[in-house]
Subunit: 358 residues, 2 copies
Amino acid sequence: MESLHVALGSRSYPIHLGAGIIDAAELYRPYLAGGGAAVVTNNVVGPLYLPKIRKALENIRTTEIVVPDGEEAKSWQTLNRVFDALLAARCGRDTLVVALGGGVVGDLAGFAAAVYQRGVPFVQVPTTLLAQVDSSVGGKTAINHDAGKNMIGAFHQPQAVISDVATLDTLPERELRAGLAEVIKHGLALDAPFFAWLEQNVERVLARERAALVYAVRRCCELKARVVAADERESGERALLNLGHTFGHAIEAAAGYGSWLHGEAISAGMVMAAELSALMGHLKKNEVSRVRDLLRRAGLPVAGPALAPERLVELMAVDKKAAKGKTRFILLSAVGRAALPVEVEPRLVREAIVAAAQ
Amino acid sequence: MESLHVALGSRSYPIHLGAGIIDAAELYRPYLAGGGAAVVTNNVVGPLYLPKIRKALENIRTTEIVVPDGEEAKSWQTLNRVFDALLAARCGRDTLVVALGGGVVGDLAGFAAAVYQRGVPFVQVPTTLLAQVDSSVGGKTAINHDAGKNMIGAFHQPQAVISDVATLDTLPERELRAGLAEVIKHGLALDAPFFAWLEQNVERVLARERAALVYAVRRCCELKARVVAADERESGERALLNLGHTFGHAIEAAAGYGSWLHGEAISAGMVMAAELSALMGHLKKNEVSRVRDLLRRAGLPVAGPALAPERLVELMAVDKKAAKGKTRFILLSAVGRAALPVEVEPRLVREAIVAAAQ
């Protein structure tokens, strides 16, 4: 097992990373006060891994809260059911919330922990590649609102993250690939050598070789931890990890939430961002090709859904990152080097969407 | 106008205090970025003071969100309506939320600001004595849940507090008295000379003499700011300001939320806490009398509702401050000197409730 340290002052925490570590009681014990634990999971992950969590929490008073699978669970209704269950079990400020599942469970349980009695401790046990690389660093928690994704949320750091790559054995192929989009994003935005490593090892990751998975997850967490430590509240450098997200959120909204996986939308969004960067003279054409080729080999989409580019441009204007009503984009000056957001004319944005679809 | 500084590192903020300052544009201007403002108020305070806020925010794009008066507004339903309005007006992370009203509006709007897009800036404009002395320092925000008050919330510091004692002219007498209970609590828990000042000046405060109001509000804010600066997350000293609250919350729950004002419940709760302190040998009998006498002169209740003491004891067991299932109380060792919570046998708690009712 390896452990990374996310340095955030009094909110610092470790990420424990390995294969077969999910049931190690000693990883949970430091965070269990007298108030027991409340495990939040969903009806797909729960049956697979709750038995292991029960083993880890043997002799600890534990409440199990099982929510439906899928993005729909990031709703007020489900959140309120979590609160009902916490209150019914008389959970207090000394109860540890354990989030067992992917990004949805992490976001929902993390937000519940952020606001239940004005904040209780929580531990993340991510069971998808996406959650292991993306949600487990940064402290972002949220639920959705009718008018947009992640509109209501909080920054709430976990006490610890326990990332067991063995849990990825049960992850559907499509979700593994979607998670890989986020892995590639870390290399593309921040780390050229890691992008090159992925060009050489993408098949090993897809084959779920544990050493390759541990390396990929660790490198992403290291990169993200460095960025987040410098910029916890996302005013500056952290925004670099939103590469592809302005496009991606619009794709998700256009297609209807859930029909594209987040990672798939980000994949197409990264190609659009790369094309936009090339159109604006920042990125070489052959680097755009490297981006497109790697995402293709990962089995990911490199163009958006079949609809008028204008529709995507419209949707971007209502995205929450549209400060002062203008749409801003993270661009690339090279593979491994993203730059802080700039405002771009809608005409160029449309051209980039068209270019990605070629 | 006077200004206090609440020292909380990067979350520090000023409290501006005076008579007739609510419409001073320069007090709002530092916190207005490009995203305009959203004023949250209720249907009683809004008609009285929205015109003044409009003057202060002249030429600023402003959304007005009017919620119903009363504790019921601290609900999911009302919170969601606030989010709907913020989203409909395309408010972003650079929109300033202005909370105009008493504690309910402050708690609701503050919590909305804490979690809307994971946190936007807000300014508090408290228009009740209770909110001016209690809610404007400490960053506590919350809504209620079926199973208890303030169960869902966040610590979210305002950018500034603008406390205009002239707005207390329109405050109903009963609410002024309820606010005075909190003022007395500050003296009783933390500051014997201030308690003595109140013994000499309580009639001036009740007559709404502006100099007396400014002094009382300022002293409370200073005391609370000192405590909060030392203990932002309420793990230690800050709990002293919960004097009377274990009893008080049970009284509110027993009577049905809203039938007793919070300050009224805290008043009776303080007498019970004083009686309990005397029963346990910590506080002299004549000091219990001073507490009771001052609260009486302030027109406040000194005993709980007419019901079996056992019922209150039961309700306290489900209070959120009941760590590990045992009920804990802030006790007094003297007027002006509260002590950190201790667990007390239910038998003594019942005796204290009976003694308060004598």
